[in-house]
């Protein structure tokens, strides 16, 4: 479906020419798919017992019962799959948040959604003794949604639209506070500490396929809502008033958007403990290929974010072999500079 | 009453209109290259401020007027050349020493949250204070006099945030006055004020000048410059086009040359100083006086947006 001149956000600079955007999008899609394929292959190849990618490729197609096949299929495949899923979830929820709040600095980690979900899970584990994801998944949803609504209310207190700077600070304040509570809960109970120590930093290792499958429907539902919302989000990019005058139901779009973010980020946080900065970086990267049209941004984010997560995971596995660095740590180290670059690029008033 | 009573140790030649020929002026710019970071605004600029003058620096937006003033106030350091104060390079003085001779009214200053008028004005006394002497009688007198001169005595206990724009600008002027310097540098002091407050402030500066201070003022309004200043420095593209009295300097040719505006220059009916009245670009004629045969297509584009504010 050829795009009918996508709504341009009111930024200065030359309007993006539509024909060249076509080529860009096609090229971008190729680049992203190639990146996804390569990182996926690397992800099944690398590890404590590295395989040559060619060998990994072979056993992927013929499950021959060899040791390599066993490693790939029981350990690395589930992990890679999980990386793809949570990557897409965090990437798309970042894109959604940036569109909903018209805030280039939005990300589930920065706005406290991950912290909210994480805190709720800590309560579930610490107080209710939950050990399976079927139990605490719901805690993650509730916590994530509550944190997001809270941050949004704080940021927009007294006004319709929340200022980006205030949103970020509200998110940081809530994150610090909730992490404080979580720390307290883990410190007073060694069991909880042990159970959540590595969960809290965004690891995609050691999570069973069954857990992934348990969360899968929620993530897919979230992605579906996100795709359906892309159109209304395009008009919200022009401002609430203009969006309303264009016939967009602003309130409904917001509620659905928050629901989608909750499903995506809550589910992914329940699995991994929260991977930050993916949602911040990826939409900015794909925007370079897609232009400002949310439909493409969300779609491309869903493809590009998994590549980023897998790349971070591979890097984390490679640089401290035989140990590993969790994905969440790698993405924070890579992603924070992006935040800094973004805030340097704009003047405060332009944020 | 006047806050300009000389404190001990102040230079004595600061008052009185010194003639430009004899003696070196107190403030001299010699061959200075001025700019921000790596962007040069003015290259190898030389100019002197006549002692005891009311000097106005005029020119289109972005011509380097504020930059020059900021160099005079040593907010900017020239990359080559020098700004001399009383014959010595300004950066070689102790910082507070300069602050007692020369004060700047910046284009924008920030009032701390919740500060009251008298407290803010009192901050102008910083160059005279030290750790053990923070509030001498002379400080108090200078602040009281500055408040009185700017008609702020009644408002002295009010919060600065609560004042109107015109009153707030008077507070900053009072702070500069409390600093008690023989040389005052004013960076577009009347911008953002309504016309009554603009003239109120200019009259205030005139009284300072009458009391013997040297005033250097960046102005946008040519008519104000011509009315109040006795010496003009005209700048364009970082260079000084000409200097002199308003009468000699402000001509229709100069206005067109410097500002790209076709205008009529006629004596101000009130003061007799030159005043600039823009021509109508559609007709380019002047109805009552001599008609101009101007080509409307020749009107230069509007001046660029000003970038020197920040």
């Amino acid at each position: 479906m050829p795009p009918t001149s996508p709504p341009q956000p009111l930024v200065k600079g030359a309007p993006v020419a539509v024909p060249s955007l076509y080529g860009r999008r096609a090229a971008g899609l190729l680049v992203i798919l190639a990146a996804l394929g390569i990182t996926g292959l690397l992800s099944v190849s690398f590890g404590a017992n590295p395989l040559p990618p060619v060998r990994a490729w072979e056993v992927l197609w013929s499950r021959d019962g060899s040791e390599a096949s066993h490693i790939v299929w029981t350990v690395r495949m589930p992990r890679t799959l999980l990386g793809v899923l949570v990557g897409a979830a965090f990437g798309v929820s970042g894109a959604l948040l940036q569109a909903l709040t018209r805030n280039p600095l939005a990300d589930t980690e920065i706005l406290g959604v991950n912290a909210g979900a994480g805190f709720a899970v800590t309560i579930g584990v610490g107080f209710f003794g939950l050990t399976s994801i079927h139990g605490y998944l719901w805690f993650a949803f509730v916590g994530g949604a509550a944190a997001m609504v809270l941050v949004y209310l704080i940021g927009s207190a007294g006004r319709a639209a929340a200022s980006p700077a205030v949103l970020v600070l509200a998110g940081v304040a809530l994150t610090v506070m909730l992490n404080g509570f979580s720390t307290f809960l883990t410190l007073i109970d060694e069991e909880t500490f042990r159970a959540l120590r590595s969960w809290k930093i965004g690891a995609i290792a050691g999570i069973g396929l069954d857990e992934t499958v348990a969360v899968l429907p929620f993530l897919l539902l979230g992605l579906l809502i996100a795709v359906l919302l892309a159109g209304p989000l395009n008009s919200i990019a022009l401002g609430d008033d203009l969006a309303a005058s264009l016939g967009t139901k602003v309130g409904r779009t917001r509620v659905l958007g928050i629901l989608a973010v909750t499903l995506l980020a809550g589910g992914a946080t329940a699995l991994t403990g929260g991977i930050g900065f993916v949602g911040l970086m990826v939409p900015h990267i794909v925007r370079w290929f897609t232009g400002p049209d949310q439909r493409w941004i969300i779609l491309y984010s869903a493809l590009a974010a998994p590549a980023l997560v897998l790349a971070a995971d591979v890097i984390g596995r490679v640089i401290v072999r035989p140990g590993e660095i969790e994905v969440g740590i790698v993405t924070a180290v890579v992603g924070a500079p992006v935040l800094i670059a973004l805030v340097r690029r704009r003047t405060a008033s332009g944020l | 009453m006047s806050p300009t009573e000389r404190t001990k140790g102040e230079m004595t030649d600061s008052s009185g209109k010194a003639d430009p020929a004899g003696g070196r002026p107190r403030v001299v710019v010699e061959d200075a290259t001025i700019g921000y970071d790596k962007r040069t605004i003015s290259d190898r600029l030389s100019v002197a401020i006549p002692d005891g003058s009311f000097t106005a620096i005029i020119g289109p937006n972005g011509c380097g007027k504020s930059t020059l003033l900021r160099a005079l106030a040593r907010v900017l350091t020239p990359s080559t050349g020098a700004v001399l104060l009383d014959g010595k390079e300004i950066s070689s003085y102790k910082s507070k020493e300069v602050a007692r001779r020369l004060g700047l009214l910046p284009q924008s200053s920030l009032a701390p949250d919740g500060i009251r008028v008298a407290d803010l004005v009192a901050r102008g006394r910083a160059p005279y204070q030290n750790l053990i002497h923070q509030w001498r009688p002379s400080d108090e007198d200078a602040v009281a006099a500055a408040l009185a001169a700017t008609r702020l005595t009644e408002l002295s206990g009010r919060l600065v945030d609560e004042l109107s724009g015109g009153q707030r600008q008077r507070v900053w002027v009072a702070m500069l006055l409390a600093q008690d310097t023989p040389i005052m540098l004013l960076d577009e002091p009347t911008t953002f004020l309504d016309i009554a407050h603009q003239y109120e402030l200019m009259e205030l500066f005139r009284t300072f000048h009458d009391e013997g201070k040297t005033i250097v003022c960046v102005l946008h309004d040519l008519n104000q410059a011509a009315r109040y200043a006795d010496h003009l420095i005209v700048m364009r593209d970082g260079r000084i086009i000409t200097t002199g009295t308003p009468h000699d300097v402000i001509t229709a040719d100069l206005v067109e040359d410097v500002f790209g505006l076709r205008a009529l220059v006629a004596p101000d009916p009130v003061t007799g100083t030159p005043s600039v009245i823009p021509l109508d670009p559609r007709t380019a004629t002047v109805r009552p006086v001599e008609p101009h045969d101007a080509d409307p297509n020749h009107v230069s584009p509007l001046p660029r947006r000003q970038e020197s504010t920040r």
């Binding site: 704080i154 940021g155 927009s156 207190a157 007294g158 200022s163 700077a165 600070l169 940081v172 610090v176 506070m177 404080g180 509570f181 720390t183 307290f184 410190l187 007073i188 120590r197 930093i201 930050g276 660095i325 969790e326 924070a332 992603g335 924070a336 500079p337 935040l339 800094i340 340097r344 | 900021r70 106030a73 910082s95 507070k96 020369l102 004060g103 700047l104 910046p106 924008s108 200053s109 920030l110 919740g114 500060i115 009251r116 008028v117 008298a118 407290d119 803010l120 901050r123 102008g124 910083a126 160059p127 204070q129 053990i132 509030w135 009688p137 002295s156 009010r158 500069l176 600093q179 540098l185």
Partner: protein, 357 residues
């Protein structure tokens, strides 16, 4: 003395003699004095609490009675350094917060928000886990280097035609996020015992402070206070904007550098001895400003407020420990301070459009 001819809009007191002249708001002085007394009082009450409860009379009798028994060891040897730490560290954090809030011209510009204590903490964790030492001097130097390094990085990264407070805060948040993930990684890699201990300490706890680190910390604290007093006038002038500061005889670069070093030093001293104690630096100057109605943030009142806040949090942590479990004091300050920060944000957004100006 000499009656002021100027109406300042509040009651102030002028002192003038041959050696000294100055003027200060009566309210500022009173509030600060009361807050300091509250801080000391809370700290004294805290001396009575613990596994071996004492009455206030017993504490005083032990401290001033001259008897060197078991109770002396408990009170003077164990509890006193902690109580002093609560007062002194609280005051230091208040000063550090006031300095950075003044420099960034933003109530959110506290060193913990901008990531300086994350940097100090990272350096200390590395020192503990890698060099395997608990020597105060090692930890203090590491904290100072880490804090300074972070400050430098944040400053350089947010410098773009001058420093803008808001940009510095967001850059600091980014840097803090990186450091926090590094900290988490280090802790997750440590042995469980080490990790628990670093984790407890990393939440900010003064409960394990002894005389050994307190004495050097007090020396440095004294130096910090002197330097803050010397730099205070320049700080006041920088608040008016760089141009105005220059024209009043300040060298902004040098003054700012001195203030940053002093501010980071406050965080470093505290972090080295007690771990990162968040939000005192953020909340103290602002609460003090509202109580004293002083223009801008006042160093004196912020220090007093910080001392009172940390002493109070310390006492609270002792009470919770008696009733339930030991809680690091840093967690209490985080929870109180986080709530305060959120309230501050709501207020600010309601008052004016956004923070960015």
């Amino acid at each position: 003395m000499n009656k002021s001819s100027i109406a300042f809009g509040y009651r102030s007191r002028t002192v003038r003699n041959r050696l000294f002249s100055g003027r200060a708001s009566v309210r500022l002085l009173t509030v600060s004095a009361v807050l300091f007394l509250v801080a000391v009082g809370l700290a004294a009450v805290a001396l009575t609490h613990g596994d071996y409860p004492l009455t206030l009379q017993q504490v005083f009798a032990t401290l001033f009675g001259g008897e060197r028994g078991f109770e002396w060891t408990i009170v003077a040897g164990w509890r006193l350094p902690i109580a002093i730490a609560a007062v002194v560290f609280g005051a230091l954090l208040g000063i550090g917060g006031a300095i950075f809030q003044s420099l960034t011209r933003n109530p959110l510009g506290a060193p913990d928000v901008i990531g300086f204590d994350a940097g100090a903490y990272t350096a200390v964790v590395v020192t503990i886990l890698v060099i395997d030492t608990r020597s105060y001097w090692y930890m203090a130097s590491a904290a100072l280097i880490g804090g300074m390094g972070t400050a430098f990085v944040v400053y350089v990264l947010s410098y773009r035609r001058g420093i803008q407070g808001f940009r510095m805060i967001i850059v600091g948040i980014g840097v803090a996020a990186m450091l926090a993930s590094v900290n988490t990684y280090l802790v997750s890699r440590a042995e469980l015992d080490d990790a628990l201990s670093v984790g407890y300490w990393g939440a900010g706890s003064i409960a394990r402070v002894t005389w050994a680190p307190m004495i050097p910390a007090l020396v440095i604290a004294a130096a910090i206070v002197v330097s803050a007093v010397l730099l205070a006038p320049a700080m006041r002038r920088l608040e008016l904007g760089d141009d105005a500061a220059v024209t009043l005889g300040t060298r902004p670069g040098a003054a700012r550098l001195g203030l940053i070093v002093t501010g980071v030093a406050t965080v470093a001293v505290v972090t080295a001895a007690a771990g990162p104690i968040s939000f005192i630096a953020l909340a103290a100057p602002q609460v003090a400003r509202r109580l004293t109605r002083s223009p801008g943030v006042s160093l004196l009142a912020s220090a007093a407020m910080g001392a009172a806040l940390l002493s109070g949090a310390h006492l609270l942590s002792l009470l919770i420990a008696q009733a339930y479990r030991p809680v690091p004091v840093g967690l209490i300050t985080v929870c109180l301070g986080g709530g305060y920060l959120i309230w501050l944000l709501i207020r600010e957004t309601q008052q004016r459009y956004g923070l960015a100006r």
